[in-house]
């Protein structure tokens, strides 16, 4: 039986180098996830803003990076408590009347009962020593959670930087929000 020797392909050094370079470029494009939680706080109701702030503070307390991007109804949760009517035109003003600002005034998405529901919830929270969303927001600030308002929704709803609570980062847009989520090991839309 004749054995035929396999032909060894002759690969030039230049070709090899080219391949290595291509692999390195590919690796650079790969997304490296950070030990980070990124939340899009879209909902402004009490039963949304509460878990949002609990998760963000817990992540920060666990040594994770955490950021919360406030958009749409979520923005009303970070309006300063004293600020009542915001906006420049009747539509924006009406919106602010229908969505009283600050986490303290957040409504329940179910069983609101003209404010009785949230009052009951907060009574229960007091009894069980659960921190309220407004307390959790300031706690989040202390723990280094990055709180970021959405520029576009601020414009849409007529909310100005001075209408919002202190300790927020500069408003950002959707692309930056996506970038926040892209490198976060966990990203949530609440």
């Amino acid at each position: 039986m004749a054995t035929t020797e396999a032909e060894i392909p002759t690969t030039s050094l230049a070709d090899l180098l080219q391949r290595v370079e291509a692999l390195e470029a590919e690796q650079r494009r790969q997304i490296k996830k950070k030990n980070k939680l990124a939340i899009i706080a879209w909902g402004g109701s009490l039963d949304q803003i509460w878990p949002t702030t609990i998760l963000a503070t817990t992540a920060a307390a666990s040594g994770m990076e955490a950021s919360v991007f406030f958009t749409f109804w979520g923005l009303f949760a970070i309006v300063k408590p004293g600020v009542r009517i915001t906006g420049e035109n009747w539509m924006q003003k009406m919106m602010s009347v229908m969505n009283p600002g600050s986490a303290q005034k957040a409504k329940l998405s179910r069983y609101h009962f003209a404010g009785v529901g949230p009052a009951m919830f907060k009574k229960l929270a007091d009894d069980h020593q659960v921190a309220k969303p407004e307390e959790l927001i300031s706690l989040a600030n202390d723990l280094g959670v990055r709180l970021i308002p959405c520029q576009m929704t601020m414009d849409l709803l007529g909310l100005k930087r001075e209408d919002l609570i202190d300790g927020l980062e500069e408003p950002i847009g959707a692309a930056t929000a996506i970038a926040e989520m892209r490198d976060a090991a966990i990203s949530l839309f609440i």
Partner: protein, 78 residues
């Protein structure tokens, strides 16, 4: 030195109270320091080990005391 030098009393507090209290106490401590966390939140039984896992700190002991409350011993690593 295996002496507990910090006690965090989070009795009565609910999630995430005990963890936040613990994390805050840890911030100003030295690596290697031993902490004792006291809690009554039943959720802490799963949350404290998870927190240790997430944060990279070491949970040395977890026990239920006679009064039904919980005691955790943690070493600051991270």
């Amino acid at each position: 030195m295996d002496v507990i030098t910090h006690t965090v009393d989070a009795k009565g507090q609910s999630c995430p109270g005990p963890l936040v209290a613990l994390a805050r106490a840890l911030k100003d401590a030295q690596t290697g320091d031993l902490f004792e966390l006291l809690a009554t939140d039943p959720g802490s039984r799963s949350d404290v080990p998870s927190w240790a896992d997430l944060s990279g700190n070491e949970l040395l002991d977890a026990e239920t005391l006679d009064d039904g409350s919980f005691r955790y011993v943690i070493r600051k690593v991270a």
